[in-house]
Each structure stands twice: as C-alpha cells, then as structure tokens.
C-alpha cells in the first residue's frame, strides 16, 4: 500500500457483521436457525433507495471487493479495478453492497463458525448451500438494508450465477443482471476439475473427514493441490506461456523433482498462500455449489423456459481465451434469453488471460461495462 490512497479508490472501508435471527431453509432441506453475513458497502444510498448494486463473489472471493482495510494493506479489494469513483461501477452514483456468502470463511456463517447445537465449529456438519440459498440470504440482506429493488446485481464466474439466479428467484427485485464469464451450468469437464480439487482435500491425512479443527490440524497439502489445479483452469495456455514459458529457476536441469520450472514454483506459491488463508470445508462447499447450479433443471432442461421467468435486463460478457466457462457457454445462456424474449446484450471480449480476465481491466471490457452501468445509473436517477 502506498502512503496515500489512489484518487479513484473508495478509500478506507470497514466490514460490518449483520446478524439474522429469522431461520433460513436451504435447498438441502436443513434450516439455519440464525446466521451472520459480513458486508461492505461503498457509496451512498439515494433517497428513494433505487441506486443499490449488489456484488456477488466467486469461488474464493469475499466481501472485501474494493478499497483498503488499512493503509498497511498491500492490495485493495478483489474487484477494486471495477468499483470506485469514476470506475465502471461508479461509487459516486451507486450504493454498492458486497458480502461474504454463507458457507464462506471470511466472517459470514460457515464451516468455521460455531454450531449452536454443539458449541464447536460446524466443520463438515455445515449444510451444503446452493446458489439459490445464497440468493435467498442476499434477499434477506436487501430487506435489512431497505432495498426493495437492486439497480443491478453483478457478478463474475460463480458470482454471475448468483446474478442469474436473482433474475429467476426474485424477478421483480432487480432491474439489471450483469453476468460475466459465467455459465448456465457446469460441464462434465468443469465438474471433473472440481472433483480433483475435492479429492485432493479429502484424501489429505490431515483432513480427518472434515473435523480437522477438532484435531488441531489443517489439510494444507490437499488445499494447496486443489488450488493449484484450480489455478491452472483460471489461466490460459497463452498467458501461462507468456508469464513463465519454459523458464527455469536456475540455469540447468537438476534431474530431480523439485520445482525447477518457474511455473511450478508459481503454482506452489499460489497454492501454499491459499492454503494458509482458506478453509478446506468452505472450498468443498463452494465447488459443490458450482456443480449443482442448473436453473434449467426445474424446467425439463429447457433454459429458455427458465429464463422466461426473468423480468430484468441482462448484460452477458465472455472472454475469448476463457476455457473454464467458454464464450460458447455464455452464448448458450444468451440464446435462451433471446428465445425467451428477454432484453439481453452480449459481447465476447478479446483478452489473453483466460477465466481470470473478468478481474483484469482491458479497454474494451471497461468501455462496455462503463457504458452499460452508466445507463443503469441514468435510469435510476431520473
């Protein structure tokens, strides 16, 4: 963190914890009697409470989307490039709400929270929550904040799935859904990668069937492997090639199996760092939420029939080198919206960074995002 905050930053922000006493019934049939949601907000809510934008996070995300928690913080929030004064989600015009989802490990109720029935942490007993459950909890959050209708619900990847689910679960409660680098359902290949990640975690001897906390252990190696394989799917062949190529850490081959190539040490570093900060049970839960998401399932696999429930307008964006959720997946979604006669705009943005491109600003991405959100802002300020 530099000595002063950049002028286009939302500045210093402070998360707050909101407690909900009303029970929440989940898709799995279980009920959470009460729960906490950790939330950050940026910008000001206008008089008629119509300028609120909800940010939904992806697999390993959390509530800290923009700004800094302190001057010592090395990096700003995870989507600081798109949220702030003058940025696509302009905090001079919007009241931005960002939360950590249920089941997360950054303060909202999840596997590391205390189970009121036992007095110990939930661990593996925390129910599997779905995208629909998250949206239900986010609707309770909107009620709490006095927001009847979001100007927009915005998310990338798993966050885009939440934006999509909002349009189906609460059609009247949002004006726009911005669905970036997402998909209407995972493919077999996507689920397969998730399974490798889960297997890496559950087969770690330190996992103890998810009760590692009770054993004072952490399945660090499993979590590290899970993140390493996940990370490969977030990048593209080209971007990895450009970043590392076949570069070695030292001059010559050592004819061993340590990290000799730069890409190996990068992946190990990413994995290690992640395993120190993320909860293994949360990782299992988040990947399962991805697997289960399939709004067409309830409509005989007819996505257009599902989409005809929606009332909001959509912006769908994909990235050319994203092979995790390819442009074809976004087009599948867009075509269902077209068939359902929903208002939708779509663009495939040329970017070399694979799935991660949704976090990295490029001129065209910024132009489109800004133009669209500018229009959303003009609508609510009339």
């Amino acid at each position: 963190m530099p000595d002063s905050l950049p002028p286009d930053s939302v500045g210093l922000v402070e998360p707050q914890t909101l407690h909900f006493d009303e029970p929440l019934t989940l898709a799995c049939g279980q009920t959470l009697p009460h729960y906490d949601l950790v939330v950050e907000t940026y910008g000001d809510l206008n008089a008629d409470r119509s300028n609120a934008v909800l940010i939904c996070h992806a697999l390993s995300g959390h509530h800290h989307a923009a700004g800094y928690h302190s001057l010592e913080e090395r990096k700003p929030g995870w989507w600081d490039s798109c949220i702030g004064p003058g940025k696509p989600i302009d905090t001079n015009r919007f009241f931005v709400v960002s939360l950590n989802n249920l089941g997360g490990c950054h303060g909202s109720t999840g596997p590391i929270s205390t189970n009121p029935d036992t007095g110990h942490c939930y661990g593996p007993d925390f129910p599997v929550v779905t995208v629909k459950d998250w949206v239900d909890s986010q609707a309770k959050l909107a009620d709490r904040l006095g927001i009847k209708q979001w100007a927009a619900v915005v998310g990338g990847s798993l966050g885009g799935m939440q934006a999509l689910q909002w349009s189906l679960s609460y059609p009247e409660r949002l004006r726009h859904a911005v669905v970036i680098a997402s998909t209407p359902r995972l493919t077999a290949q996507n689920i397969a990668f998730n399974e490798v990640a889960r297997k890496a975690i559950t087969s770690d001897p330190e996992f103890y069937d998810g009760r590692y906390a009770e054993h004072n252990a952490t399945p660090r190696r499993g979590l590290m492997l899970a993140r390493m394989v996940g990370h490969i799917t977030y990048l593209s062949d080209a971007s990895m090639g450009e970043k590392f190529g076949r570069e070695l850490r030292e001059e010559a081959y050592k004819f061993g199996y340590d990290a000799e190539f730069q890409v190996e040490s990068y992946l190990r570093y990413q994995g290690e760092r992640f395993s120190e900060t993320f909860d293994a049970n949360t990782y299992l839960l988040m990947t399962r939420a991805l697997d289960y998401f399939d709004p067409a399932y309830d409509y005989d696999n007819d996505l257009a029939a599902a989409m005809s429930q929606a009332r909001c307008e959509f912006l769908v964006l994909s990235f050319s080198t994203d092979w995790r959720f390819t442009p074809t997946r976004s087009e599948e979604l867009v075509n269902a919206m077209i068939a359902a006669r929903r208002k939708v705009s779509y663009a495939e943005i040329d970017a070399p960074w694979g799935h991660d491109a949704f976090l990295i600003p490029t001129p065209r991405y910024e132009d489109i995002f800004t133009a669209y959100m500018d229009r959303v802002a003009r609508e609510v300020q009339q």
Binding site: E331, A339, V344, S345, A347, R364, A371, Y372, R375
Partner: protein, 197 residues
C-alpha cells in the same frame, strides 16, 4: 434519423418484435423502442457500435453473420427482420435472405444499386471499377463483395419465390425523387425492399 430509416420505420407495426442485422449504433432500434414500443435485438460486430448500443439501452448481440450464421434464432420468432446496407457485404446473400425469411414474417433489406447511371458511366468512361459516395472503396479493399442491381435482386426473389411487398428507391442522401420511380434500375441509388414469403 437517416431518411432510409424513416421509410423503414413506417413499414413496422407498433409492438413488433424486430431483429436488426448489422444494427450499427442502434439508432433505428432505439427509435422503434421509444416511438413504437418495439422489442428485439440488433446484431453487430463493430466494437464501438456495440458499446454505443449498450449505452443507449438497445439490446445488442455480438455475432458475425458470416462466421456464426443465424442458427441460434428460432423459426418465425420475429415480426420483422431488417438488414440495412449490409446484404452486399455478406458471403452468401442468397442464404442470408433465406435465413431472414425463416426467422421473420417480413424482412426489410436495403442495398446500393450497381446499375445506377453514374456507376455505369464511370465503368464505361474509365474502364475501371466504379467508386462513388455510396461505394467509396477500391476493388481490392471493398467490404461490398456481392454488389448487385435492382434487377438482379428481383430476379433472385423471383427464383426463390420471395414476394416483394413494397419497393422504394432513394438517392444517396436517402431522398425520394420522382425520377427514381420512373426508371429505378437506371436512376435509383439505394433500394429499400420489403419482402415476405
């Protein structure tokens, strides 16, 4: 609004569901949405146009007709399918016309007339591929790879059993002149056809 768009607008019923192929900056769709409560989509490939459409609330889909076709749209899912000044630039205009008529009850197309007298004169006098205000390109860099005349277009419609509902001819400023009507294939610069099957 461009004069040809004003003519087209009159042929579109209120509350129509419209597909505009090559919608540009979305001027026509924006107008149809506001003044005629029309719904629908524009297809476009120019990034700046796409951004402009999104900023003005026109639903725009980035899709290249020549690469992706129109297979993602259902049969007879639109009241009107439009294509202004782009038919001559697609790889197979005949197939695009079939596709347009598959998607829409009616279609409206506009294109430049290669039999316009100035172009004939240019070719006769200079012996080179004509260049004009409406066709400001060299033969090697023109996007207009399938130029045709009004007669050519009507012959294609006849062969394909396409009915011509209306036909209007305008000049390069898109003004309607009496002499265009007198001898359209010689004196008309831009044709606007309303067709169905």
């Amino acid at each position: 609004m461009r004069a040809d768009l004003e003519i087209i607008e009159k042929w579109i019923q209120p509350e129509s569901h419209v597909l505009d192929l090559g919608c540009g900056d979305g001027t026509l769709l924006d107008y149809l949405q506001r003044e005629k409560q029309a719904t629908g989509f524009g297809l476009e490939i120019n990034p700046d146009h796409i951004t402009t459409c999104m900023g003005r609330g026109v639903s725009v889909i980035e899709q290249d007709l020549d690469v992706q076709g129109l297979g993602n749209f259902h049969d007879q899912s639109f009241d009107v399918v439009l294509m202004t000044q782009a038919l001559q630039a697609v790889r197979r205009p005949d197939i695009v016309l079939d596709e347009m008529l598959r998607l829409g009850r009616e279609c409206i197309v506009t294109f430049p007339n290669f039999a316009y007298w100035r172009l004939r004169w240019y070719l006769m006098r200079q012996g080179r591929m004509p260049e004009s205000e409406t066709l400001p390109y060299k033969w090697y860099n023109t996007p207009n790879i399938h130029l045709c005349t009004f007669k050519d277009f009507e012959a294609l419609c006849y062969r394909k059993n396409i009915q011509i509902m209306n036909r209007t001819v305008v000049d390069s400023e898109h003004r309607y002149r009496w002499f265009n009507r007198l001898w359209p294939n010689m004196l008309g610069q831009i044709a606007i056809y309303r067709i169905t099957r």
